[in-house]
């Protein structure tokens, strides 16, 4: 059993997804979905522990040896990303039980949970596989289901948002598959380890740089890196709360993982950053994303949209870390994957609580919520502090590493931009806090605190975002080792 864990993390949910659609009623479907999520959560923890203890795990599906069959290859990066996805999924599914019931009609419940598990499975599949085409297949599973999930938002604009995402996402997927095809034409293989071995020999052929370009553009579309982020704000704003919380914390993270995987493992840091001069493109884009998107966030009236723009800015932080192409920088990027998942998950969940009681997350409807929904707003403040990067929160840890990476390279202006981004975060977080705490609520509203079914998962993430901010040694250690694996240094 335990030797099958690498594949079980994906196939058990994949078996349960159609089951959720079959059972028909939403309660049973939820139980199936919860089982899938918690199963994957448990397995992901086990995998991380095993990878830490034993090193990279390989699992040859179908019993065919590596380049001929499909290999699951789980190194520390894969395991860590899978753990992020599984953790958020496990929390989000608890949250969904109450939230989805309020936002999605009951007769769609079963299909909704089926799509939820599919999205979850797809993301897990991407993170653990060692085969580039398999990445594409699972990318499709997760993307298609994500489009449908986003379209389930109450607001009619959810449909257009999902459509926009569908178009942009499909372009991204097409680019990715073109890139994979071009690589295949030059090497004859789809296995990541095998590709990494064979690519350097043909790297001078025009095809490979072009393949690299297509992959980069395709992934950055999925990643919503500025300026390819246009689909993200609408999608996050109009999707059902549980979906936003889940997708915001996982989908872009997995795209960052792909970026890491392709840049560092498949093509190798030398090709990506010396031959292709990738940092010259990524770093400016990341910096612009951090500043402009934070500025745009300040001017939003819809808090979910505000957080969505903040997400685009935060993606900038992750990409910035990667663009240093140093152990510290990549560590910062990987750490921020995890840290941002926790805090954004918490923040979007808090907004879901507001949605549940107030029916809107527009600023003017949030007056006085600090008194009426104290726990919800306290969770928002907790997540917000992390976004700002106050000590003892996960956001601080990310920033600590990111600034360190910049200073290590002697790029103090970059470090200054990172800090400036934090300050902009102060403004947009405080904007919400002020409305919630300093404006009087409409006395006629009988808004109450959100139910425990929403508060418990929200607070689980808030507490986690403080816990891993106070004791960051575990995550920082994993991230550092993962970065060393990617860059091929260290043990």
């Amino acid at each position: 059993m335990s030797q099958h864990l690498p594949v079980l993390i994906v196939v058990v949910p994949l078996l349960l997804a159609p089951l959720a659609a079959l059972v028909g009623n939403w309660k049973a479907a939820w139980i199936v979905a919860a089982a899938a999520s918690w199963w994957a959560f448990g397995v992901s923890i086990a995998l991380v522990r095993r990878v830490l203890a034993e090193g990279t795990i390989s699992y040859e599906i179908g019993g065919w040896a590596a380049p001929y069959g499909i290999e699951y290859r789980i190194d520390l990066v894969s395991a860590f990303v899978a753990m992020i996805v599984a953790t958020i999924g496990a929390v989000a599914i608890i949250y969904a039980r109450t939230s989805v019931r309020a936002e999605v009609s009951e007769d769609r419940g079963a299909l909704f949970y089926s799509a939820f598990i599919l999205c979850f499975t797809g993301l897990l599949g991407i993170s653990v596989t060692g085969d580039v085409f398999n990445i594409f297949v699972f990318l499709e599973v997760s993307s298609l289901s994500a489009y449908a999930l986003i379209a389930m938002g109450q607001d009619r604009r959810a449909l257009t948002a999902a459509y926009q995402y569908l178009i942009m996402g499909s372009v991204g997927a097409t680019f990715i598959v073109i890139g994979i095809g071009l690589m295949y034409s030059m090497t004859g293989t789809l296995n990541i380890a095998d590709l990494a071995e064979r690519l350097p020999a043909v790297a001078d052929n025009r095809t490979i740089p072009v393949a690299f370009t297509f992959l980069t553009v395709g992934i950055t579309l999925k990643l919503a890196l500025f300026p390819l982020h246009l689909w993200l704000p609408n999608a996050y704003t109009y999707a059902p709360s549980a979906v936003t919380a889940f997708i915001a914390s996982t989908a872009t993270k997995v795209a960052v993982y792909l970026l890491l995987r392709f840049f560092f493992t498949v093509f190798g840091a030398e090709f990506s950053f010396e031959q292709m001069q990738l940092d010259k493109v990524l770093m400016p884009l990341a910096l612009v994303a951090i500043v402009t998107m934070s500025l745009v966030a300040i001017y939003q009236d819809n808090v979910k949209r505000l957080l969505a723009y903040s997400s685009v800015a935060q993606i900038g932080y992750m990409v910035l870390g990667i663009s240093f192409a140093s152990v510290l920088g990549v560590t910062a990027g990987i750490l921020h994957l995890f840290n941002h998942a926790l805090m954004k998950g918490a923040l979007f969940m808090a907004m879901g609580c507001v949605m549940y009681r107030v029916g809107s997350v527009r600023l003017e409807r949030m007056k006085g919520l600090g008194k009426k929904m104290p726990w919800t707003m306290a969770a928002f403040v907790g997540g917000g502090l992390s976004l700002i990067g106050v000590p003892f929160t996960v956001g601080f840890v990310s920033k600590w590493y990111l600034v360190q990476a910049a200073l290590e390279r002697g790029m103090w202006p970059v470090a200054a931009v990172v800090m400036f981004g934090s300050l902009l975060a102060v403004i947009y977080v405080w904007k919400v806090v002020e409305v919630a705490y300093f404006q009087e609520a409409d006395p006629d509203d009988d808004i109450r605190e959100a139910p425990l079914g929403l508060l418990i998962p929200t607070w689980a993430l808030v507490i986690a975002s403080f816990y891993f901010g106070i004791d960051a040694t575990t995550t920082a250690d994993i991230a550092t080792r993962a970065a060393e694996v990617l860059l091929g240094v260290g043990p």
Partner: protein, 236 residues
Amino acid sequence: MIEFVDVALLVLLAITGVTIIRLRNLFAAVMMAGIYSLLSAALFVVMDAVDVAFTEAAVGAGISTVLMLGTLALVGHQEKKPRRPAIVPLFVVLVTGGILVYGTSQMPPFGHADNPIHQHVAPYYLEESEHDIEIPNVVTSVLSSYRGYDTMGETAVVFTAMVGVLLLLARGPLPRRVLLGGEWRTVRPGTTREELRAEAAHALDADGSDGDGSGGTTPGSPGSEDIVGEQGGKHG
């Protein structure tokens, strides 16, 4: 001769593609898309990729045409004129095309035996499949066994597509055929409850929300409230 067929098919493909873009009548565009699929299927045959050609013909020219026609039945036949010329998309397409041409210009010549794809992995399939799996069609052995896991993923993609379409389009519980007064009728289960909910949805619609999701979420679906195939029984 083969070259001639190649060129002819490619030219036809290009003409069809441009025609699809130019056409404002969607019905005609759908037909042209079907033709496009058939042409590409033919191209795949020429390239000896019979399995792919088969799929393309069945899916591209067959089912997807029907589905697109189904869509047209809902949204009408005429495409709205775009408000402004699509300069940016054109630019993106040209750049992408340019890069592709550039990138493929040094690619190994098509079908050459020395190509990397014929040197690595693929020879194993060709040589060992007969012994490993003992079926003559190597494509099938690759799809179902060597890379069976990918096929499983693709099956999941297909299933995901269904879940997505049903989430978006299916209204309420699944329709059912019942015998009413000697006549077959298609009704939803629990119609009375449905009526109640329709009222609630109506109230909610005033707030601009979608209510229970039974309201027409797709723009331009007038009168979609009535139940599937009410008179279908006549032919039974």
